[in-house]
Symmetry: D2
Subunit: 440 residues, 4 copies
Amino acid sequence: MEKVFRDPIHDYIYVQDQVILDLINTKEFQRLRRIHQLGTTSFVFHGAEHTRFSHSLGCYEVARRITDSFERNYPTKTPGDGLWNNDERLVTLCAALLHDIGHGAYSHTFEHIFHTDHELITTQIITDPQTEVNQALRQISPDFPTKVASVISHDYPNPQVVQLISSQIDADRMDYLLRDSYYTGTNYGNFDLTRILRVMRPYKNGIAFQISGIHAVEDFIVSRFQMYVQVYFHSVSRSMEVILGHLLQRANELYQSERANNHQRAFQPHYLMPFFDENFSLTDYLKLDDGVLNTYFLQWEDDEDPILSDLSARFLGRIPLKSAQIKEPTRSLLPELRKLVTEAGFDVEYYTAENDSYDLPYDAYDPTSKKPRTQIELMQADGSLVELSTVSDLVKSITGKISSDERFYFPKEMLVNTDNNLFSDTFAAFQAHIKNNLIR
Amino acid sequence: MEKVFRDPIHDYIYVQDQVILDLINTKEFQRLRRIHQLGTTSFVFHGAEHTRFSHSLGCYEVARRITDSFERNYPTKTPGDGLWNNDERLVTLCAALLHDIGHGAYSHTFEHIFHTDHELITTQIITDPQTEVNQALRQISPDFPTKVASVISHDYPNPQVVQLISSQIDADRMDYLLRDSYYTGTNYGNFDLTRILRVMRPYKNGIAFQISGIHAVEDFIVSRFQMYVQVYFHSVSRSMEVILGHLLQRANELYQSERANNHQRAFQPHYLMPFFDENFSLTDYLKLDDGVLNTYFLQWEDDEDPILSDLSARFLGRIPLKSAQIKEPTRSLLPELRKLVTEAGFDVEYYTAENDSYDLPYDAYDPTSKKPRTQIELMQADGSLVELSTVSDLVKSITGKISSDERFYFPKEMLVNTDNNLFSDTFAAFQAHIKNNLIR
Amino acid sequence: MEKVFRDPIHDYIYVQDQVILDLINTKEFQRLRRIHQLGTTSFVFHGAEHTRFSHSLGCYEVARRITDSFERNYPTKTPGDGLWNNDERLVTLCAALLHDIGHGAYSHTFEHIFHTDHELITTQIITDPQTEVNQALRQISPDFPTKVASVISHDYPNPQVVQLISSQIDADRMDYLLRDSYYTGTNYGNFDLTRILRVMRPYKNGIAFQISGIHAVEDFIVSRFQMYVQVYFHSVSRSMEVILGHLLQRANELYQSERANNHQRAFQPHYLMPFFDENFSLTDYLKLDDGVLNTYFLQWEDDEDPILSDLSARFLGRIPLKSAQIKEPTRSLLPELRKLVTEAGFDVEYYTAENDSYDLPYDAYDPTSKKPRTQIELMQADGSLVELSTVSDLVKSITGKISSDERFYFPKEMLVNTDNNLFSDTFAAFQAHIKNNLIR
Amino acid sequence: MEKVFRDPIHDYIYVQDQVILDLINTKEFQRLRRIHQLGTTSFVFHGAEHTRFSHSLGCYEVARRITDSFERNYPTKTPGDGLWNNDERLVTLCAALLHDIGHGAYSHTFEHIFHTDHELITTQIITDPQTEVNQALRQISPDFPTKVASVISHDYPNPQVVQLISSQIDADRMDYLLRDSYYTGTNYGNFDLTRILRVMRPYKNGIAFQISGIHAVEDFIVSRFQMYVQVYFHSVSRSMEVILGHLLQRANELYQSERANNHQRAFQPHYLMPFFDENFSLTDYLKLDDGVLNTYFLQWEDDEDPILSDLSARFLGRIPLKSAQIKEPTRSLLPELRKLVTEAGFDVEYYTAENDSYDLPYDAYDPTSKKPRTQIELMQADGSLVELSTVSDLVKSITGKISSDERFYFPKEMLVNTDNNLFSDTFAAFQAHIKNNLIR
């Protein structure tokens, strides 16, 4: 059997194993069609409406191409020779396909409010005998689900398989950079996938890249850095995330206080209740998607609570908060700014926020780090390895440097023209502290 | 003011008028972010997850470029000279932006079941003083909403404006062909937009194309034909539409019978009730989107009614019906096929369907037609006009011919291997009638 | 060994056999770098400056992908089963790479004037033991050159191999459509190569296409038709070809008359002399390329013969003749037009021409035809074949219809404003016969 | 009048002024069709066969878009306000179109051997009253040619105009990065032209960029750096340049010695003689192009001098020298290596070379530099300027650092297997010094 899916990024995605097709056809995997890949980013880049379903297929396809290349060019001859053992193919492909299966609606924000953990859920979906995913995997062997799960949790013994799914240049990142570039309509995330696949190779401790491909690897790192700065850190999509978080938090608080008061609302957000109650099952989790949350926001637009109603309308109607960058010396001004926002009639808990986006574009291995990275190794003509940043000035310039952007969010009403207004003085005082998108 | 939106199709979309920005920021327009452009097509072409929001912006941008070109190259000098009066610019742009504002969740299927009419709703959203859209339009003048609505309903006096928004080669079609091609990852819908915009020009009775651009126009018609055959008519996305329709119909019937019995369900589909009751307001309509319907389907998966539950699971889990093409001589076999499906234990009302997709790729003007088309006129060097199909063999070959594909849908269970099965004889009898995707 | 070439059309071209690399490195193949793929077309589409070298590599790569797919998916099991015998791989790839090796400078025009034959030369280059190409091929076996040549001359016994290199949908056409589209910057020649390669398959009498790919095949035929009409037939590049032909013809005539008179010129066009003498060797032929001819044109710009000098300047300086379309009823006007051109002081032999471009976009097999075509066969689910035009309206509309464009070329001076001019009456009389690019 | 040229990079190039069309139609400009943009690069990236003609049109088009944007968005109101004076439009466009008009055949190598200077020639072509270019420019005004020339020589008083044509981010670089990327088939040179054009703006001392576009500017600098490292510095195309240089040098030396001996060759390279004589006119210079030189190389292949003949065959047949990188500590080994090459029978003057490629990716203004650069200025919201490298880590990492690659070139024969060979010991001794493409 071979089945193909038309894909804008990889042209075609080739499914060559029954288990992969079965996994795609599970209800847990189909559910990913209802969860956007980039959360609130489409509020800024309107084209980026793609879902985790597309990305998961794409990640699988990149992994498939890599294992195909490894099988053709680097087949193992004797155990321990550091080459590719094609018995690892299926576990690699399943892990690639399922690596994001535990993601939920508006993932990161939701996790923050309700203390869920998508990586844990991924493991549960794979290993819980009730799921269709687990049933499909068990067709291979009884311990196959556990093996797949251990790849995703980095516990699988073969480092080649683990690094293919999760490292600083893995199937996941390769697909999402190309895909997010395509759908946002920016070009920053483009890199030469064909060339990278061609120079990738297995070695004893994982994956290396022939040094002839150094510039393609370098370009990948730089492209990813640029996507973070340009797209993933965008201040307006973060603003929408802030509103989303506050909205869920407000709903939760209302629920808790009403429960304390034995108050019962007309329309309860049925599928959210287990999360308010901090007592949810996997089945509960799998009922949630972006559309379900949006449906509750539509209900809350008409809620009696003015903050819940207003935040819902802001989220659905894309009415972002404004922001200004925080630099260390001006952090001390935040209490004053919050005070002015309060004076203007806003509840600062729901209408202001500090928000920081950060990413480590690349790092060499550092055993003292809390989260040591698998560094990118280049293989020279004589087989010796050299770490990427030691031979690339461009990469060196961003190695080990956390790139971040810290911002203070506040209602755009604070920036209105100050004439003839009840809060003229407040607004003017506030505006005196904002210049060139900076707090001063 | 000028504001830009990054767009994968047009690179950037330029907003140069406050009213356009205000319209985009209305809650009625933002709602289009929650309605997919291609309904169930993304079940086949998984990349096609874009919404009517993106397409509406794109249609606006194409219209903006056309009016810009007309203003620069064909400004009217004396009334009635058949050239472009730039006073028409704003009404044109607003109509382009809003032409799809009345579309609802899973538009065509929903309309079919609940007898709504998205064109009527479009007019209501534009003219109802309660909407934010209407309020934004009224900033221009009190009668501006009515003018915009009359463009969309083809009643506007200037045929140039009407044809720009709605004709056989209009801003709407130009955007959706490019956009749907891009998101599906097929190339069939591509054509040379830049060249078409360059050869478009106003004339007394509407829009014409300089004959030097004939091949670009020809390519547009052929591309659109190919997209219909390849993408829009795809048998599997139509299968998902069939399931969707049956699902909504089942829910409606259950509701009607329960209402008759004074039975009250635990979880009512709140936002659908006005449609079950055939008594809905504009506000009710605007609460619906794809996510809301999907949320109800998630609830119905757990419903006590086995058909409602099963159809919901099939829709959410992408379990399509199979199909075979109906040709005239074999239509008479359908009763027999339905009988066999019944024997196998399926309710034919919900598990079979006849479904026909058809499109008229291009037609010359025919005053005797029920729905006469504005034909495509090419302007020769001496200013005389010639109709497209008279000078293009390719277009002539598809002119006036309705392209259609009629299919019989049935459960894939009917095609299982017939050995050792309770229904072996039934299945074998059924399968004897299906060959090469045809009923015989 | 595997060596790759970066290619804008196919991303990478993979060379996996030493003989292919050796062939590429021969001086006969490297010479193709100095011969443009599209002759005078770059005078109109300035981007189209690519050479036969790039196209030959591309044609090889398409053939390589096809044979790879055949080997993987349709390997023969028993002789005569109609599947793919991978022993044919190398002869196929060599034929694909070398199919154009006999092309010379400004091929078609040069052939017309000097009665050379690039197909015959191709055979000679492959079979002459003096060439590096022949020496490389003989490394495989003594009769290998003859086998390769017989594929190109359609005499090879296996029709699969022949059709892969030369048929209505072959590796040659697939590469040149994509490549010419890319370099001209038009999109008309684009089609879905990946899909066509996927549905191509061997059968007993040659190559067929699975019917599921019908629309990709249809799109290929339509794309090729559009490229002919839009690019290859362009009236201005044909005008430059007309000038080129007249230029070579003038030089030849001058040479013949001077030889008769024992006149010796200062600067003889050394490499052209064997062709003037109608007595050239393969070595002579291989010395010619576009740059050599242009070098002679540069010399002739300064020639004492005013016609040779003027035509050279027109060719190098891109000063095309104008043209008007000839329709049957107006052909009788040509003598009158030529008379007027003569009156205006031009030698009609060198400054006017009738020129006809024609192509047969597609044809079904017709045993009565002078040059019967291998028709395109689609394979249905049950293995039976059906000819393309019987199932595609689009293709049917252009099947068997020769597409042509016949034009009369003349100096643009004939179209100048007629006032106050020595030849006013002549010009006016001429211009009265030209309207909307037509003779009337 | 408006005339368009189809272009693969810019889609269409719009010519809106008669003088631009006249300039394109001059014989000096048409001659650029016969000079490749990237010299010997197409020996490595075979797709890169484009010429200076295409690039010159593209550079014009970028300049046209910039001036259009400046005219629309930043029109001057009062002299000295630092905004754009549209009287500068035509001089800007002409300078952009003509900036490379003085380039000759295989420009840089030719200049090196014959001490020509393409910048000086550019000025001559523009200002010499005999050229068609000068005649076209004089239609505007008698001093217009001098003005255009002064833009190219950086002497024009308005720094906005000068920087638009020549600075670290100018119309020239913007076109060639995109164009060379497209034709080589690499993606390294891509950047967001639309965005850069949108954030470019005039100010008092030249051109600045709104800080909102910082990442597009950053990406441009990084892209250019990557193109240098990946494409322009490629060791094999430099190898072909080395052969070309040695070939011209050998011909020159033979000519000088034969002149001293009153020896006359049968076939003199007519158009090269003035350069051998170091006494050439502008007319002589304009007769040369890539094809003319190649034609002489074809003649020299059959020359009696074995070195001239061999080098010609190597150049035409693409037989590059091999190379190894020189690092400071190993430079002292070069005499030993040259001695071994001599022992193997090669003339080291013609068969070895040291070759260094270097580029300064970006630099801030440094008044102490020999060639101070106009630094890239970003304009903040309050109108103040900030230099690029002070706000971009990526750019800072490559600022002021000359990127270079120094190599030793030698015949590939030196790397043959050393067994059973006359020169076995010599080859072995040589090979002992080369490892991983490095001299050691």
